[in-house]
């Protein structure tokens, strides 16, 4: 069991993690760094789930953490696959590591 203060601190840390991840996602141009930022953003709710579960003395929070982990793994797998596809672009198109370079949908 833990106190209310601890919960507030942990939720604040979770919020900070999310904002840091979002900032990284918006400010970085490299696709790989953006993927890492998304992982950080996913870590924030996971931390919030654990903290809330511990506060209420309920195991469901840890269960949700496992779900979030699975989601993060799936997301990482998809994201990396996309990244590999981008890097292996045909010679004519050139390989892309920069998310600003994939703006053809605008046209």
């Amino acid at each position: 069991m833990m106190g209310g203060t601890m919960l507030i601190a942990l939720l604040a840390a979770s919020g900070g993690l999310f904002v840091a991840g979002a900032f990284g996602l918006v400010s970085r141009r490299g696709v790989l760094f953006q993927l890492i930022s998304i992982e950080i953003m996913l870590g924030a709710p996971a931390l919030a789930f654990i903290a809330a579960g511990a506060y209420h003395g309920n195991a469901a929070g840890q269960g949700m953490y496992v779900l979030v982990l699975a989601l993060a793994a799936a997301e990482a797998a998809l994201g990396l696959a996309l990244y590999v596809r981008l890097r292996r672009g045909a010679a004519a198109e050139g390989s892309v590591g920069d998310s600003d370079g994939i703006s053809e949908l605008k046209r």
């Binding site: 996602l25 918006v26 400010s27 970085r28 141009r29 998310s99 994939i102 703006s103 605008k106």
Partner: protein, 689 residues
């Protein structure tokens, strides 16, 4: 049941025939198109026939109305309707009957044309029959004017039927423009009457027209007269009719002689009470009618082309009708309308067959030998010409012309003069009719044009050509019995002429025919006198219009368009001085003209003033007027320059474009920009939550 409702069915088949032929979305060969066109175009006659008999039985008194529908505009009800009275039934039956016979004839006559053209021809002829029926049967000014415009349009299309002949297109345009001018006057008159009466019913318009103040009445009557003169090709609008003869023969027979051009006479007959109340205009009407009758007869006498002769003959004969209308005898005019429709369509149809047998030429000279080549057509032509000449007692034309002459005889002292003059016109009519017949009777080659293809020689073998000729020939000879009933139906007393007038009226055509025979026998020399040459070209009215109206107007227009208010032309000093010395005293005018010729433009220009082209000649008065006008206009509009509303409108349009340009920049295609917007949006939402 009110028999007037039967009238609603009369224009319907022809209109349906037009709709089907014009709009059916599949190709049609010649035969079915002609069949549909003839059946649909002939059907109105069989609807009009029982109505006519009902009318002769006294069923037309009082007049009946068959409403179509009523449109409501604000406080005004526009009640569209067809009317049943003596006038509408007589004219409607004539139109539908002649239309049926001419369409029947056209089935045979047009048998060699291309299928597509035949379909167009019959579609337009059906539309014409429907339009003409709505003119004759109309009980309100809207349906009347609608029909009036439809027949004008059909006339335009049918004159220009041979679209590959430039003459046809020019003739069509000329006819259209000339009649449009008159139509504008008619429309103005009908609108004035409508304002006066507050109703479109002719039954209301006519009393309102009669009750108007004399000045307004004279104006309305004059406008109506102009409308009628234009459609009927009377002086001074007659020039379009001779050029309209480039259309196919059935078109000339139906539209440009028998029915459509008589629509003007019908208009005058329909609104006769208004003219009876405006004696000045009625007098002008009679004078124009008589002048046209004489003019047309002389021009017809001078023609060397059969169709042209018949065209001038139509002008002249409708002149007789207009004369009768001006004298306040609409019954006599309508009687002549009916009889003229018989014999004139007969003349055109038989002349068409004769010209086919002569290899397609319509020259009078080419008709020679026609009596041997196509004896039946020749006999029909003779019957028509006898009726046209008004041979006494044996032809229908005699009786209707007597009715017109009697109306003149009874119109006082001036009437006697009119009678004498119209008798002269009748004599000339007989002379040219005799010329036509004698030319066709003259011996000629059995095959007049061996080098042209002989495809038309079997015209008379077709029953669809023979039947109308026989029917019309009988009507042209025996139709005189109809004159009495027509006058009775229109409540007009038959004028009883003095014996001397009847005798002179009988002698005049015979005398005219004798003159025609002398002219025919005496060779062609008289045709080449300057007077006859002039008459052959219709008095060269076209050229005179061009010289006295069109060209000055164009010059005036150019002057206005080009005037440069600050351009002043000065003479070349040296030449002008020499001229002044050389000119004799008193030769002032000559000096001025030389001074004008020896001018040199010197331009004094202010910025912003520009003329499109240099002025052709010095014209102080004209330039001063124009520059004063331009100056005042500029003064008046300076306060409005630039136009603020205009500027605001342009600005609004530009603002929309600019905003779009701005919004477009948001779409960068960069992932992180979108993510940023997303995060920002979520953040804002959270703040509100």
């Amino acid at each position: 049941m009110n028999i007037a409702y039967l009238l609603l069915l009369a224009p319907a088949p022809a209109l349906a025939g037009f709709g089907f032929l014009a709009l059916a979305p599949f190709p049609m060969t010649r035969r079915p198109a002609a069949l549909i066109g003839a059946v649909a175009g002939a059907a109105p006659f069989f609807i009009m026939l029982p109505v006519l008999f009902h009318c002769f039985g006294g069923g037309c008194d009082p007049a009946k109305i068959a409403p179509i529908m009523t449109l409501t505009f604000g406080e005004t009800d526009v009640a569209l309707a067809l009317g049943l009275d003596g006038l509408s039934v007589i004219a409607g039956t004539t139109v539908s009957g002649i239309g049926a016979l001419v369409l029947l004839y056209a089935v045979g006559y047009m048998a060699e044309e291309r299928g597509r053209d035949v379909r167009r021809f019959f579609a337009l002829m059906n539309l014409f029959v429907a339009g003409m029926l709505s003119v004759t049967l109309a009980a309100d000014s809207i349906v009347f004017f609608l029909g009036w415009e439809i027949i004008g349009l059909c006339s335009f299309f049918l004159i220009g039927y041979y679209t590959d002949r430039p003459r046809a297109l020019v003739g069509a345009r000329k006819a259209f423009v000339m009649t449009r001018i008159a139509d504008a006057a008619l429309l103005a008159a009908l609108l004035l009457l409508f304002l006066e009466a507050g109703s479109v019913r002719l039954a209301d318009l006519i009393p309102a027209g009669v009750a108007m103040t004399p000045e307004r009445q004279a104006m309305v009557a004059a406008l109506l007269l102009v409308g009628a003169l234009g459609k009927s090709a009377q002086l001074p609008f007659q020039t379009w009719l001779p050029t309209a003869m480039v259309g196919p023969t059935p078109v000339s027979a139906l539209l440009h002689s028998a029915t459509m051009v008589a629509a003007g006479a019908f208009l005058l007959a329909r609104l006769a009470p208004i003219f009876a109340a405006a004696p000045m205009v009625a007098g002008v009407t009679a004078a124009i009618g008589l002048a046209t009758a004489i003019f047309g007869a002389i021009c017809a006498l001078a023609q060397t082309d059969a169709k042209q002769m018949l065209a001038y003959s139509s002008i002249s004969q409708i002149g007789f009708m207009v004369l009768a209308l001006g004298l306040g005898a609409p019954g006599a005019a309508m009687a002549h309308f009916v009889i003229h429709a018989f014999f004139k369509s007969l003349l055109f149809l038989s002349a068409g067959v004769l010209s086919h047998s002569a290899g397609g030429s319509t020259a009078i000279r080419a008709l020679a030998g026609g009596s041997a080549r196509a004896p039946m057509a020749f006999l029909a032509l003779a019957a028509g010409a006898a009726s046209l000449a008004g041979l006494p007692f044996v032809t229908a034309g005699w009786y209707s012309k007597e009715a017109v002459l009697a109306a003149a005889w009874d119109a006082g002292v001036i009437g006697k003069l009119l009678w004498l003059l119209s008798l002269g016109a009748a004599a000339v009519t007989a002379a040219y009719a005799a010329r036509l017949i004698l030319a066709a009777a003259a011996p000629g080659a059995m095959n007049a044009a061996p080098n042209t293809d002989d495809r038309h020689s079997d015209d008379l073998a077709r029953p669809s050509i023979r039947a109308p000729l026989v029917a019309l020939a009988i009507l042209a000879l025996l139709g005189g019995v109809l004159v009495g009933p027509i006058l009775h139906l229109l409540h007009e007393a038959h004028h009883d002429l003095a014996f001397i007038a009847v005798a002179l009226g009988a002698i005049a055509p015979l005398l005219g025919a004798w003159v025609g025979y002398r002219l025919h026998a005496g060779g062609d020399a008289w045709l080449h006198t300057p007077f006859m040459r002039d008459a052959r070209r219709g008095g060269q009215v076209d050229a005179r219009y061009q010289a006295f109206v069109v060209r000055p107007f164009r010059r005036f227009k150019n002057r206005i368009a080009r005037a440069d208010p600050f351009e002043i032309r000065l003479p070349m000093p040296k030449v002008a001085a020499a001229e002044a010395e050389a000119a004799p005293i008193g030769g002032l005018l000559r000096r001025i003209s030389r001074w004008r010729r020896a001018r040199r433009p010197i331009r004094i220009r202010l910025p912003g003033w520009r003329a499109a082209e240099p002025v052709a000649r010095l014209d102080l008065v004209g330039q001063a007027t124009v520059s004063a006008g331009t100056f005042i206009t500029r003064l008046a509009t300076r306060a409005l320059q630039p136009d603020r509303i205009d500027v605001a409108g342009t600005g609004a349009a530009r603002a929309v474009g600019g905003f779009a340009e701005f919004v477009r920049r948001v779409q960068t295609g960069r992932v992180r920009d979108y993510l940023f917007a997303l995060a920002l949006g979520v953040g804002v939402l959270l703040l509100f939550a």
